[in-house]
């Protein structure tokens, strides 16, 4: 995925709360943008990109935790964790499949029968994992995720 968006105009001497406001807003927007891409095309890259964006948002929510009203912070953190978790099974399968395909390409042909059978088993598991991806898209549809994140952004203590 593209790297995290650079946040302009931050200063070391500005307050921790002001920095929280700027940084969390941008990381939250990145999650929503990646989630939209996932809804349009739920391929391996899109799943990975949402997870990375979630990880970055989760990181800044944790870093700036004291700056937020606790209930809004807890709700936002829970929503982001849940989204990332729902995509986790599919991502794990994608990672293993990629590694196995790489190994299979260079291993002796006789050994490939076993590895191919494992890849086929992973593909079968992917059906269940894809259902979780669909659930993640559904559970964050409309403005459900957006409103939780916007609420947290507005709950930075001044």
């Amino acid at each position: 995925m593209a790297g995290a968006r650079k946040i302009e105009g931050l200063r070391p001497d500005e307050t921790f709360a002001d920095a929280a406001r700027s940084i969390v807003a941008i990381r939250a927007r990145e999650v929503l943008e990646q989630r939209e891409k996932l809804a349009r095309n739920a391929d391996a890259e899109a799943v990975h990109d949402v997870r990375v964006a979630c990880r970055r948002l989760r990181a800044v929510l944790e870093i700036f935790e004291p700056c937020f009203e606790s209930k809004a912070h807890r709700q936002a953190l829970r929503a982001v964790k849940q989204l990332a978790t729902q995509l986790g099974a599919r991502r794990d399968l994608d990672v293993h499949r990629e590694l196995l395909a790489r190994l299979a390409a260079v291993m002796p042909a006789a050994d490939r029968i076993g590895v191919d059978s494992l890849i086929a088993a992973l593909d079968a598991d992917a059906v269940t994992a894809d259902a979780e991806v669909e659930a993640a898209i559904e559970s964050t549809s409309g403005d459900r995720l957006a409103s939780v994140l916007a609420h947290a952004e507005g709950a930075v203590k001044s």
Partner: protein, 195 residues
């Protein structure tokens, strides 16, 4: 792994001081876990080190503008460490998956072989050779060995990487980058005088 709490954060205080506190705690957390992973070959500490490296990386990426340019380089090193430990973790997750797959194939083949030769009399070896997955086992066993060897090599890479960061010198480097080295020294001296 739950992140260690950071004391004394102040939302109305300057970003730089708050960020330095967080970086200090995250660096110390990583240091302890990585040292434990090496000293005790503690697998949990190894995987927790990955999470600790990730946390330190992210906090540095967000707050590096407050610090010495070396903070960016430390964040880059943390990303390398996180990637390395991530690959190692993938091996640790893949081995049980291969084992579980072998067990599934074995169960299916045992039932198929038994069904192929019903009735009395000793089961023929031929039934085993003709089992639907009989050609898969050798490759899977070699795959398991390959992944274990890959894991061992990655562990060696991790130890070498941690050594290259200077082990003890790592915390001092982080303190220099965040400008807290003199504070820590003062704190140490204070502690000594109390003792």
């Amino acid at each position: 792994m739950k992140a260690r709490g950071v004391e004394g954060l102040d939302p109305s205080g300057p970003m730089r001081e708050n960020a330095a506190r967080i970086v200090g705690v995250r660096a110390a957390e990583l240091f302890e876990l990585a040292e434990r992973a090496i000293a005790e070959s503690d697998q949990t500490a190894l995987h927790d080190s990955r999470i600790a490296a990730k946390r330190l990386r992210y906090v540095l990426e967000v707050t590096a503008f407050c610090f010495d340019p070396d903070a960016v380089e430390i964040a880059r090193k943390m990303r390398e460490l996180q990637d390395l430990l991530g690959e190692l973790h993938d091996c640790d997750v893949l081995v049980p998956r291969v084992e579980a797959h072998i067990a599934q194939l074995r169960t299916a083949d045992a039932l198929a072989a038994a069904a192929a030769q019903p009735g009395p009399g000793e089961l023929e070896w031929d039934a085993i050779d003709k089992a639907p997955n009989s050609g898969a086992y050798a490759g899977l066993a070699r795959l398991e060995l390959y992944v274990a060897a890959r894991r061992a090599r990655l562990y060696g890479d991790f130890v070498a990487f941690w050594e290259s960061l200077g082990r003890d010198a790592f915390l001092e480097r982080v303190e220099r980058a965040t400008g807290t080295a003199s504070h820590s020294r003062r704190r140490d001296l204070g502690n000594r005088s109390i003792a």
